[in-house]
Assembly symmetry: C2
Homo-oligomer: 97 residues x 2
């Protein structure tokens, strides 16, 4: 797993919607807002299933009532890798399915 | 919903296992560790269901791989209420069921 360059990170971020880089640069983060609490929980279930069974790459998940926050980094790469961006895209695609 | 006194909070905390008070005194917090990632997620599902359908009182939930953290407070009471401790007990009882 290789750490992406700054150029690669910026290019990939541009292809995503709602994902931002955290201050230390090692994480990407997105906040999803739901109209129903249990819709947010159902989304977390999908994210967890994809993370565990398809990617073997797990985001930090925070649930603050109807707001679900995902954070991604690649510990082994010491920063952001291609897998973080693949995961971000997969999680976005899982929304509403 | 009434804020509990310090004495009441301490008495109730003693009846729980693994719950601690956060520094500002307005929250109780517990970290649950699981041997499987999806077991932690299944626990979150139970917690969310109890929170939404039975208590109408929602903890902050953080999922950091196999570690699930719950935090409770009562906004309307400006601190900890009896409902926080009832919720804590219900979440503990949901573990492993």
């Amino acid at each position: 797993m290789e750490k992406l360059t700054e150029e690669e990170i910026n290019a990939r971020l541009e292809q995503l919607t709602g994902w931002n880089r955290e201050a230390d640069g090692k994480w990407i983060i997105k906040v999803y807002r739901f109209t129903e609490y249990l819709s947010g929980i159902a989304f977390v279930d999908k994210v967890a299933s994809i993370a565990e069974l398809e990617l073997n790459h797990h985001p930090l998940i925070a649930i603050d009532y109807k707001r679900v926050t995902l954070r991604l980094t690649s510990w082994h790469a010491g920063g952001l890798s291609a897998l973080d961006f693949e995961a971000a895209e997969r999680f976005d695609n899982a929304l509403g399915r």
